[in-house]
Amino acid sequence: MTSTPHDVIDAAIPLAPDHPLWALRRQRDKVVAATQGSYDAMFSPAVEGLSVSERLLVALHACRVSKADSLAPHYRDRLAAEGADGDVIAAVDAGQPVADARLRAVLAFTGKLIERPIEGDKAAVQSLAASGLSTPAIVAMSQLIAFLSYQIRVAAGLKALVAVEAAA
């Protein structure tokens, strides 16, 4: 059985190893490992073109737009640990515009893809390229936003399962 020292989903719910749902999740241990593995890949310093802080701000913005209260604190903590600008974190957290034009464009793209994925169009992708992002960086950013949509739903579903267990 895989036992990662830190699993972001378990920490967000929270799910301790003595909780019945912790064991339920491990019945799909490949999914648990690849979900954490995806998270690690999304925020890896090896991915070029977007800084780790920029990616964490994308995540915080996605959590705010999706009202994902169980995951937002994780990204807030990581941003602080990363030494990101406190004013920028506070602005993203409050849904206020940020000063940096590139970050503003990235966050606008994030909000749209999280809330209205059908509006994804060629012009939006081309404008990212025009703002200086390479193809691998655009793929990384798209994967990140799409992954966050996944992570937010896994956490929301598990939270509801925990709630029904607690009430039983």
């Binding site: 799909r28 995806s38 890949a41 799409a146 992570q151 739903r153």
Partner: protein, 201 residues
């Protein structure tokens, strides 16, 4: 197989997908890129979609492991119902390509497509049995408003006979298509057979 369904822009026809970004060239791909493609499926090396995603091999590798484990793992929710959850999420998000692929898989596994016609027409209220209706309703809710999912939603699934592993499988199936739809809708577009035929002429 019966004639393809075509309702409100959604279809069970086999579609192609045209990327808006350049793809990785298989002949010059790195070992990590090839490993990620092969982890996904034997066809991934010829798929424009996966060849775009191969620009980030570690991310594609992890996502491929998750995707295959969610959709194909034995036990738990029957595979046809996982495909139904995937199709509903894709219909709600407006992902014509994903809806086509996974509606076809549902049809292959369940040997019927009545519920697919209903989902394409209007996801709300679709389902041919109480169990199917509950699966569809939950898929819509988790897809559209994850913050509003509560213990009551879980009780509704349990009331129609879903066990906890089946519920977990459904959560994962809907969630992985929240992911897949956003890539498909954002990095390229579906190509219908007739459009391709007229391009070629």
């Amino acid at each position: 197989m019966t004639a393809p369904i075509r309702i409100k822009g959604f279809t069970t026809e086999v579609l192609k997908w045209k990327p808006w970004l350049d793809t990785v060239n298989v002949d010059t791909a790195t070992p990590a890129q090839l490993a990620a493609l092969d982890e996904m499926s034997p066809q991934a090396r010829t798929s424009p979609y996966f060849l775009v995603l191969a620009h980030q091999p570690e991310i594609l590798l992890q996502r491929s492991i998750a995707f295959n484990a969610i959709m194909f793992a034995p036990g738990g929710m029957p595979r046809a119902e996982r495909e139904l959850g995937a199709t509903v999420e894709s219909r709600v998000n407006g992902c014509v390509y994903c809806a086509s692929v996974h509606a076809q898989r549902f049809e292959q596994l369940a040997r019927r497509n009545d519920v697919i016609s209903q989902v394409f027409e209007e996801p709300e209220g679709a389902g041919t049995t109480e169990r199917e209706k509950a699966i569809v309703e939950f898929s819509i809710r988790l897809g559209a408003e994850p913050d509003k999912v509560t213990a009551d939603d879980m009780r509704k699934l349990k009331d129609v006979g879903l066990g906890e592993l089946e519920i977990l499988d459904l959560i994962h199936s809907v969630a992985i298509f929240a992911w897949a739809n956003r890539l498909m809708l954002n990095l390229g577009e579906p190509v219908f057979p007739e459009a391709e035929a007229s391009d070629a002429s």
